[in-house]
Amino acid sequence: MKAVRKSEALSGVDAHAGIESDLQLYYQMKLVRAFEERVSRLHRQNKILGGVYSGAGQEAIMTGVCAPLEPGDVLLPLHRDLGVFLLRGVDAGRLMAQLMGKQSGFSRGKDSFLHAGDVGRGVFGSTSMLGSSLPVAVGAALKFQLKKERHVAVAFFGEGSSSRGDVHEAMNFAGVRKLPVLFVCENNRYAYSTPIEKQMAIENVADRAQAYGFRGHVCPGNDLLAVLQLSRSVISRIRAGDGPALIECKTYRYHGHSEHDPALYRSKEELVAWESRDPIETYELFLQKKGHDLPAVREQTEQQVQAVVQQAVDFAEQSPYPPPQEALSDLYATPIVRAPKG
């Protein structure tokens, strides 16, 4: 159970305490990247089954958005937002176990990947149906409003998901009731193979916010400092009762849509252009300019994150599969009681 302790300690520092020192943010992005790269490798090794959707390249968005959040806030990550779990301090071992379908995963083997959450950390799982998590986030925000709690609900979604009707219904209602919800669009220019031009006739998803009566912001999603600056001000306004907001982060995914996808539909040039805006390497430039000893920092951080990831893998691999009957549990919270009839 070492992995558990380790990553819980970890989480105490990064997300929950609200401390956002340069090095912690760096550590967080590196951890997400390392964890995801390991997941991809485990998938190639057939140790993780089913679909794996890497968020590599998009770490700055999750990191920047999660930093200003507080305990009690609620998050609904989508398929490419595994990082959100780590950033909220979810136990890395259990997360890995979840991906492997092991007993110690959040769903005890019932579902893969991100359809379960770690509710204690405010992270809820969604279904695969893209966009359908936005109404749920809006409902969480409604609860905060009704109960006068100063929390924020955050829904992540891709630009492709923004075409779904649920997104419209959710944003409209959020606007009408000025709910404390933040919509985070990770615009990585593709929905599977479909380029953005075939998905929408406008430039920015954020431009839709005004159609619902709230603010929309566009920001360079690979620039952690920019995301952070925006998310801090936007989240504090939402928390203050200013109503919903939408931030759209322009970004790119390095991998194919899933690990099965060679992504032949896009050009090498495009990939290279975006790799040159790598969020981690860009942030390293910042650390350097600021006077940090980058080689040392990098090495130390890499050791740390590799240790966390390795412990997570070890923990998950040692965790048993659930017993088959687990498939039938947790369907209902209130059991049927057939009392003898009077």
């Binding site: 769903s107 579902d111 149906m129 409902g139 649920d166 049927i336």
Partner: protein, 326 residues
């Protein structure tokens, strides 16, 4: 005091909202208007706009937001203006709400109720007459109820609101003001998952629920009086999970089964009931398991067409007689 079916539902909402401040009502026109059928009448005045919430026309949002609120401990009672429009919230119900607890490995509950005014016989035609229950009774994680009496309308809604799982509650529009009963004073519940023998008998069982219970009871009385047949009538009340014990018990008791519902024949719940009997009470059967239901078509508008496709007392009586003669 005599209470109508619609008033019984309204009472349940009042009582549960008073009992638990986490209960709130949300839907189209539920506040000022008190709902298209006046089911939520008076709630806005009593509980204020934070607990009786009008929404835009957005069924998927209504249910999805209900899931979000329920996951954080609220108990939303969500109204579909007509059960027919539940199709617009389908994905949120069958995929989001129904799986919430399961995929979170039991970490979270999803205590919401979707109220759906259903049923034909009121000239509603294709899109204001549907009985969509069987779309939901095949979805684990949901519970589905369909009260046929004012007592059960109140008792099942109260149970549904207190239940920690998502419950789809089908209330039959034709019953709203056409039936009345004396209800007991004070708090009472109808348990979810438990069918009830509304009339005991020895010769034939009619298994039914919702809109066709009263026709079935009428037919049973006539068959008794005119043919001397002793007809048992089982009201399923809960459609998911089915009360298999009660179904098998009545089948063993009479050996002749007629399943009746207002939903269409093909794909209706009657098939499931019949299959349970054919598998688990086979040795006790004295005749085929017969189903009587709406014809396999859409709900037509024109009165002679609507009458033609829907089950009624006479059609049930005829089926009882045919089965008795088998």
């Amino acid at each position: 005091m005599e209470v109508t079916y619609v008033r019984a539902i309204n009472q349940a909402l009042f009582e549960e909202m008073r009992r638990d401040e986490n209960v709130f009502v949300m839907g189209e026109d539920v506040a000022d208007l008190g709902g298209a059928f006046k089911v939520t009448e008076g709630l806005l005045e009593a509980f204020g706009p934070d607990r009786v919430i009008d929404t835009p026309i957005a069924e998927s949002l209504i249910v999805g937001a209900g899931v979000g609120a329920a996951a954080l401990g609220m108990r939303p009672v969500l109204e579909m203006q007509f059960a027919d429009f539940i199709s617009c919230a389908f994905d949120q119900i069958v995929n989001m709400a129904a799986t919430m607890r399961y995929r979170h490995g039991g970490q979270v509950a999803c205590p919401l109720v979707v109220r759906a005014p259903c049923g034909a016989g009121v000239h509603g035609a294709l899109f204001h007459s549907q009985n969509p229950e069987a779309w939901f009774t095949r979805v684990p994680g949901l519970k589905v109820v369909a009260p046929a009496t004012a007592y059960d309308a109140k008792g099942l809604l109260k149970s549904a609101i207190r239940d920690d799982d998502p419950v789809i509650y089908f209330e039959h529009k034709r019953l709203y003001r056409s039936i009345k009963e004396d209800l007991p004073e004070g708090d009472f519940l109808t348990p979810i998952g438990v069918a009830e023998v509304k009339r005991e008998g020895r010769d034939i069982s009619v298994i039914t629920y919702g809109g066709t219970l009263h026709y079935s009871l009428d037919a049973a009385r006539i068959a008794d009086k005119e043919d001397g047949l002793s007809v048992e009538v089982l009201d399923l009340r809960t459609l998911l999970p089915l009360d298999r014990e009660a179904i098998v018990a009545t089948a063993k008791n009479t050996g002749k089964i007629l399943v009746v519902h207002e939903d269409r024949l093909t794909g209706g719940i009657g098939g499931e009931v019949s299959a349970i009997i054919a598998e688990h009470a086979f040795e006790y059967l004295d005749g085929p398991v017969v189903r009587l239901a709406m014809a396999d078509t859409h709900n037509p508008f024109s009165p002679p067409l609507e009458e033609f496709v829907l089950p009624d007392t006479n059609k049930i009586l005829a089926a009882i007689r045919r089965l008795a003669a088998y």
